[in-house]
Every structure is written in structure tokens, then in C-alpha cells.
Amino acid sequence: MLARRTAAGELGAFGELVRAHEPALRSMLRRLAGDAADDLAQDTFIAAWRAAAGWRQDGSYRSWLYRIAWRQFLSYRRQQRPTEPLEVVQDVGMDNGAGPKAEIAQAMARLGERERMAALLCFAEGYSHGEAADIMCVPLGTLKSLVARARRGLVECLEDEQ
């Protein structure tokens, strides 16, 4: 309903959508892109506002936002120098000391960007492989490989914990 009103150009409805989705989107982008998260989140919302009429109502609005955010992130990374490493906030919203959550956050920061996004979507956000593949615009097989690689990377810290 809000998305339909946003597509009709209603700024109030758009504000409600931003209010509903910004905490999750910014949290996800912070773990994906570090310091650039807020700028990317704003760019994502503005891109969603421009393309509001193009939203297919067969999926959730959040998945659609995540797809836009992933494209914004890839475009942002293309603009960076390839040698420049991405500084990812390792632990946001969790205590910065030791503990499994801090260790898993560090393990996440060591993953490649695609593996990290796949892990965020499938493990943290609870998307199915099909939905995550759709969000990342990759074939299902590729997504499964990314998730498997992410799992391998993350499992080491769980093994250390045990």
C-alpha cells in the first residue's frame, strides 16, 4: 500500500517506507560496506524513490531495496581504486570485546564481498537461496557456492570457539 502510494509520488508514504526499512538496510550495509553505509543507504532510497513505479508487487519491498543496495554497493566499489581495501566495521551493535559474536564479525570482515553479502542475506536476514540469488542477480548455483564458501570461512571461528 505504502509502496503504491510512493509510486504515485506521495512523499509522506515514501517517508514511512524509509522509516520502516532504514534500520535493517543500514545495518546490513554497515556490515557490507563499513563507513560508506549511510551514503549508500541514502543513494539506495533515492534510487528506490526514482524507480518506485517499477517495483514488482510479487516480491517484498525489502528484497527490492536490498537488490538496489547491492547494485549501489557494486557501483561504489567500481569507483574505488581496486587496490584500496574496504574498511568494514567488524562489529556493529555488539560488544567489541571477545566472544563468539565478535569473532564471527571478524570472520565476516575477512570474507570477500560477494560471500559476505550471501552470508548476510541467507544467515542474518533469513532469505532462501533463491531469494538471495534474485537479490544479488546471480544464478542459483553461484549463490550456493558463495554461501558454501562463506560457511567455510565462518565455521573456522566456530570450531575455535568449541
Binding site: G9, L11, F14, G15, V18, R19, A20, E22, P23, A24, R26, S27, D38, A41, Q42, F45, I46, W49, R50, V92, G93, M94, P100, K101, I104, M108, A119, L120, C122, F123, A124, G126, R151, L154, V155, L158
Partner: protein, 110 residues
Amino acid sequence: MNEADLDKRLSALLQEPDAAPDPAFVDRVVLAARVDRQIRVARRRAFRRTLIECGAAIAVAGAFYLMSQEQAPLPDGRFSLFGPAMAGLVMLGLWALVTLPTPGYASTAS
């Protein structure tokens, strides 16, 4: 630990508590969307105006060209400076001078 248990464990570790919305961020995004809409409206209006003005200028120039064809030709293929076509061109030039933006004016005015 099998794969399903491992995934459940990873999900539990990676999930974050629901954060409260940030009103400042929401306001900033809504303001950016409002500005974006105003820019798009202004751009669309300017594009339409340019199209109309280009069309009008082509029509006026065509009309004066046709008028110049109606004039009796001067010997040696010279122009008459006092014919209606030349008057039309002067008017067109004055219109362009008054209507079209002067380069650099906007930047120095602000």
C-alpha cells in the same frame, strides 16, 4: 555439527537486535527525495521549453526564408539589407539576446 545446525548457529550469531529508526536520517532522505523531484520537474520543464523555442525559431527562420524568396532578386545575387527577411533576422537575433541565458551570468549573480 551438521550443516543445518551450523546454519542455525551462524544465523543466531549474525542476527542483530532491531534498531530504532533514526529520524534525522529519515528526514535527510525525504528532503533529498523532495529536491530530486523538484530538479526533475524543473529539468522536464526546461527541456519542453527548449523544444518549443527551437521549434518556434525554426518556424520563424523558415518564414523569413520564404519571404526572402518572394523578394525581387537584386543583380549579382546580392542581398537587400532592408527587406522583410533581414528585418526578421534582426528580430530573431534580438529575441535570442533577450531570452537565452547569458553564459556565466548565473554563477556571478549567486
